[in-house]
Symmetry: C2
Subunit: 474 residues, 2 copies
């Protein structure tokens, strides 16, 4: 009769150990297909365990399909297909840890911890979690919690002058996610036009989702209307309030021309990506394209990544009413991707006025920070060799470097100084046509760190511009 | 000269009011294209406001492109394209509020509030939010926070015997989201096979993402291997540990046959959806398909929606190593869709052992609940007319009703009693071949509510089976 030792049992229960032993023997072929197993009673006596131990082991083997039973005849080994040879590949090294090795980072979209309202947020979450009612546990509709939809609609009215109904709003786990959802809504047959130059992610997302994506060249007012018209695009992804990286604010005439283009054919839409409208440092925020569109062709998208924290994945889009209906019909089966707890906390954050106070505080903070940076640059040794541009529109500006210098030289010099920064030319999908220009995104620098970071940047530019090589031989 | 009244100014600032008035006149054509505007100084004197007010209004109009300036000549109205006619559709009624009108709901995937560990979760979130360090605000990698990846890997080892490296894990905002991501990873040219019958969402997602989806009929061991082989599918979405709705546990022989099918051609994969492996009420959890796969063809998916709350959108998948590399190359640009705060709180929840305690408590709760339900059914008037099946595998069971009764009659009788329930036949994509069978999903019933809900269900079945119509005339 089968014999197993219970010596190496470890923390297993008796039945689990027995189950493992028999399973191993079946998988290795040491117990033949259709071989009869000992009866529970005699097996238990033989092994010196209780009948229930054998019973439980047999039950688990039955449940997993390793043995079968025949009435009044007992238990038998299930014939199994042969084991497959191991084909596991050589392990790849794990991806590098995401710790920033940079002394100064002008690329990151992270918000410094001191800019996040930790205590308010904690208090709101605690309040949400304290209300242990049924409602808190109800799966929200595919478009999000009604509380958050309402709060966003009110915020858009107060802050952007937009008249939007709560049911037009779709909440999702980040703008990237919403772009993918839009491809499902508008179709993979549509052609998505992106600005050139641009923030590269939307184009990557459209392509990853299987949609064709074309680049539309820009002039100083934004995408060129003639280029839009000759392109195959029927969906345009734009940032009219503040374009990244150029900083262009699209004037109203160009906006109206693009709305006319939309109206010429059915199925044309503009995705208005309003990612940092909140941080225009001079004057009022630029009104949205959505608010001057009488035709229902603008889909407005915004995010709380810039205003709260990049690690909080909450964005939203405002659909024109006919698209709301299409969304419900074709994509209404989806569950909203943002946890209800965070949605309800955010709704309360907005409704209570804490969001507005936070925005005001942040605007002041960024304005002060920017002014200090501009002063530091103006008083530096490179002041006469650089020109600051587009500094009033949002959380980055352009630093044009004059003189016979290449982008590559600027970047490699910056890297040697521990400075992570990008050049305007890197954001072009076509051939870039711009003088050497650095994109200075200062939002990720902590207040205490800004002066040192800018000093490093200045040193690196000064070195790049210096006629004699300042590098020591390697 | 232009004249505006400042009487109806409301809460606007003076400059904002002036800006709005001029903007309205330009948009309505009351100010002609290229018309010269008054000089700042004379306009200010004329309106009785300060020069700075006019200056700010002009600056905002300039920023938005409503006016332009010519050096030493002043400000002029920008020629604008004509306004578009309003084409807004008649408003659609807002979608119905998501409040459940049912007296008993055997379909919902909501977890009753008493089953969520509110106080532990609040404490963990507070701890995470108290650590206001840089790390908390760091954007996690596309696959999620390393802390959560590590915690999940350890949990899978302890609870499922799976040997998985943290870097194989991709965290995402729900299984639905991860299915969409998999289509991007494995391609829209792949054909996705789903079980028939099945939980309908994965098929809807594959189709919404533009991939072909085919149904594979099942026998009592799961999807039929011959049907898999003759289908066009190269990706199979399966729930081998516990199939919904049939409750089938796939025996090891079928699992090995499917792994053999995978190994026959490159590009074949199995998505193992292990959505409620934690709640098998008898014996040990069924080992995963992933853990007996030596070939790296199984992608394991699981969720915390069932174990914590359906309103928390955290799921994960375990990619075989070659797919990790492909993921990083093609989709590594994505930001993880789950907020870092929730990821870190969940990591701590798992690492501290609170998750295991919670699972044990829930398992006991559901076992007690199920036993009470089975007793109530066995002692009811319909006991002899019903047969309970597949009651030990997870959080639902089948209730087969014998006698000449249709699914439609059962459902309409249930609805009249305020009972929301589904029939097995509703989950078939092809022609259903099953006797009238109700799918009794009891996880959403609160403990206090279970007895009354089952009583309603029994009444509705009794009425449906009753030979004389018990309905009062309407």
């Amino acid at each position: 009769m089968l014999t197993y030792s219970f010596e190496s049992i470890g923390s297993c229960s008796l039945y689990e150990h027995l189950y493992r032993c028999i399973q191993a023997d079946i998988r290795a072929g040491r117990l033949a297909p259709d071989e009869k197993l000992p009866s529970k009673r005699s097996f238990a006596r033989h092994l010196g365990v209780s009948v229930i131990t054998v019973e439980n082991a047999y039950a688990q083997l039955m449940a997993e399909g390793y043995i079968y039973s025949l009435p009044k005849r007992g238990f038998f080994v299930e014939p199994l297909p042969p084991a497959l040879p191991v084909q596991m590949p050589a392990p790849t090294p794990p991806p590098a840890a995401p710790v920033s090795p940079w002394a100064a980072d002008f690329v990151t979209n992270q918000i410094p911890p001191e800019n996040f309202p930790f205590s308010t947020w904690t208090r709101l979450l605690r309040t949400v979690l304290r209300q242990e009612d049924k409602h808190r546990m109800q799966t929200p509709s595919s478009q999000g919690c009604r509380e958050l939809q309402t709060a966003i609609a009110q915020h858009l009215y107060a802050f952007r002058g937009m008249q939007v109904r709560p049911e037009q709003i779709v909440v999702g786990a980040g703008t990237e996610y919403l772009c993918g959802l839009l491809v499902q809504l508008l179709g993979r047959d549509a052609v998505y036009g992106v600005e050139d130059p641009c923030y590269q992610k939307p184009a990557k997302i459209y392509e990853a989702c299987g949609a064709a994506c074309v680049s539309i060249p820009m002039d100083r007012d934004g995408v060129r209307v003639d280029a839009v018209q000759t392109s195959r695009a029927n969906i345009l992804h734009l940032s009219p309030s503040h374009h990244f990286p150029t900083g262009i604010v699209m004037p109203v005439s160009r906006r109206l021309q693009l709305l006319h283009w939309c109206a010429q054919q059915p199925g044309r839409y503009i995705l208005e990506d309003d990612y940092d409208c909140e941080f225009r440092t001079n004057g009022k925020p630029i009104p949205t394209l959505q608010s001057i569109d009488p035709t229902g062709r603008v889909i407005y998208i915004n995010t709380f990544s810039k205003t709260l924290a990049s690690t909080m994945r909450i964005s939203y889009m405002v659909l024109p009413l006919p698209l709301v209906e299409r969304f419900q019909q074709t994509l209404g089966f989806y569950t909203c991707t943002v946890s209800s707890f965070e949605q309800l906390a955010l709704a309360e954050f907005i409704q209570s006025g804490a969001f507005e106070s936070h925005l005001n505080r942040m605007r002041t903070h960024y304005r002060t920070q920017k002014e200090a940076i501009l002063t530091q640059l103006a008083e530096s040794s490179i002041a006469s060799r650089c020109r600051v541009r587009m500094e009033n529109e949002g959380l980055h500006f352009l630093l044009e470097v004059t003189g016979p210098i290449s982008d590559a030289a600027l970047l490699s010099c910056a890297a040697r100084h521990g400075v992570r920064i990008s050049c305007l030319s890197q954001y072009y999908r076509g051939t870039p046509a711009c003088p050497p220009t650095l994109v200075v995104n200062y939002a990720g620098l902590g207040a205490d760190h800004t002066h040192a970071a800018i000093a490093l940047l200045i040193d690196s530019i000064a070195e790049a511009l210096s006629p004699e090589p300042s590098q020591t031989p390697e």
